[in-house]
Symmetry: D2
Subunit: 199 residues, 4 copies
């Protein structure tokens, strides 16, 4: 039968692409997230470049755990904007209700990807709402970003944690300390892939 159901199989590439697509469609650029990272980290690493910040944001967004949270949060924002949630969830998300904390919970699953050291940075930007977060919090536009503003702050906090880990690794390398590879297998797998590439 032609309409026999094809067994479900996750397509990780589709999940990654949808994450990029929806962030873009909801008006958030990687550069804007990277600017939050710069704001959080320039004090500690004066030589930090925007390229590094963007790169680290991209690395955070390549994680499945992060993609799941981004997609789920944006989906709830979009449905709230269209008025399609049931009461009183519709009203709580529409009004960014202070006692509704599921947006913070999703944000934390993002921050957690690079460990607890990012908790502080998340709280800080979530409170002060610098840069893109101010725009996402503007309640006069008719757009609903109850989840997205927390998500963007969380991605920036996670990217900051990632930078902290990498900078430490760089320092230790310079000091001639032996490298303790975070993920030797990963590297091995890729070097095998590279071997198969045409020269």
């Amino acid at each position: 039968m032609t309409d026999a159901k094809i067994p479900y199989s996750l397509n990780s590439k589709a999940v990654a692409e949808a994450t990029r697509y929806w962030l873009h469609k909801r008006g958030v650029t990687l550069e804007e997230i990277a600017e939050l990272v710069m704001l959080l980290q320039k004090k500690y690493y004066p030589g930090l470049t925007m390229e590094e910040c963007i790169h680290n944001v991209e690395m955070v967004l390549s994680k499945r755990e992060v993609q799941n949270a981004v997609l789920t949060g944006i989906q709830l924002d979009v449905l709230a904007e269209e008025g399609k949630l049931f009461a009183p969830l519709q009203e709580m998300i529409e009004n960014d209700e202070g006692l509704y904390g599921v947006d913070e919970i999703l944000a934390f699953s993002i921050v957690n990807v690079y460990g607890s050291i990012g908790f502080t940075n998340f709280g800080y930007v979530d409170k002060l709402k610098p840069g893109v977060l101010e725009r996402l919090n503007d309640k006069t536009t008719g757009q609903i970003h109850t989840y997205l503003d927390d998500i963007v702050g969380a991605v920036a906090a996670a990217a900051s944690s990632r930078i902290a880990h990498r900078k430490q690794a760089e320092i230790e390398q310079k000091l001639g300390l032996e490298l303790e590879p975070e993920d030797v297998e990963e590297a091995a797998r890729r070097s095998r892939l590279e071997e198969t590439l045409p020269e």
Copy 2:
């Protein structure tokens, strides 16, 4: 103007009632959740009654944090059942994708309400799927309970933690140890309320 927007104000009672309504509508009774609690706790408290289990489930469900997670999770299940989520989130929730963990994240915000001691009980019932959880995991019905099965297990785990705290308090009271009220204010507030009631 008659169509002036009434400022949003959270109605906690409506949130509590919607939580009960949606659990019922999705086919889960308090008794079934209480049976999971009994399964988890009877070994430790042989005299535990179903009435106590039901009561503790009700207390868990009276918490705002829990209500928020229950409503958000069921909403996503319902929308997935109606095919109204965007791809590939639709496919991931529809198929209870193993690498999609946002359902576990919401479940954990429920378990957490009575602290980390409930983590173990949650994982245990979520793995073994006893009682109502087996029915919720039946993929042949056309119903989607990707969130609800984790939520129900989490409510049972939280109720188990609550029982552990209460049983300890009972033991200490019998031993004549002074009571360290968990929440003196709460009691005071209620006794004041009661004073104002007509006799």
Copy 3:
């Protein structure tokens, strides 16, 4: 036999008292924590009093989950101060190592007691280090407060969440909305206790 081991039985009062004792001994007063709460909340509740802030800090500190985290964290600080931890844990805690995040993890178990809405407030005070937190972060004293500064910020954040929940309940009561008691049983138990008191 006289030296037969008495079976272990938790004494909750002793745990609560040790929590107060150790906070005091490490130089932190409830008033100082309450000042952090005031700083975080006065913007939202202009009529908030220091008495209310202190009371809410006390309520947070009456929770077992909080007491466990406070005692464990202070214990590790004290042992680090005495140089009694094994290497390299000793060095990491002694130097408040940036990539050591177990202090933040304990802090989060405190914040979580009143739900995810406190995450933001925790991060904010943990970053800005106002009031007592500045003193706890002074690395020139020889004292080690790697855990305590996060713990104090977390207690203040949790107390802020508690206030947010209570203030909402007050608003709803004034609006004549029926009360949905957070914990009916608790009230019932206490009113029974009060009945047994001599007049």
Copy 4:
């Protein structure tokens, strides 16, 4: 001056080595942890080998977040065994008090390293106590493993999550789906390192 203090600098290699050392010293082998992984995963991946399980345990143990939790937990176990904690923390850890949940909190920071999909596996082994966990829970030995048993279960659960992520990646590669590298930079960095090695 010869006694001038050398500025503190984290040595990641020392942290990694201490983690291995202390697990070994407390009687836990990587093979035993790998056996828990096999128990949890063989149902889903019939061809899974012990080598793969061991490798994944090693990868989990190479993460800083995991090392911090392992070292902190074992330190508290050791101090409790030596009777060096203050009361009543000493008694709570010594007796693996049911209402003391800081051990579970540390365990969760380990599970979280590969996301929320590991929560269930952790709870399951923590409840059933198979293999090495049964030995660690034997209260008749005089040894205290209040933290270590949760830590070992958490490492096994995290390794299981890691396997789930890798197996999915393998399936997608076989299906000819393009690879979305989890961490392109990592691979690039290592391939650069390899270029510098003598042939």
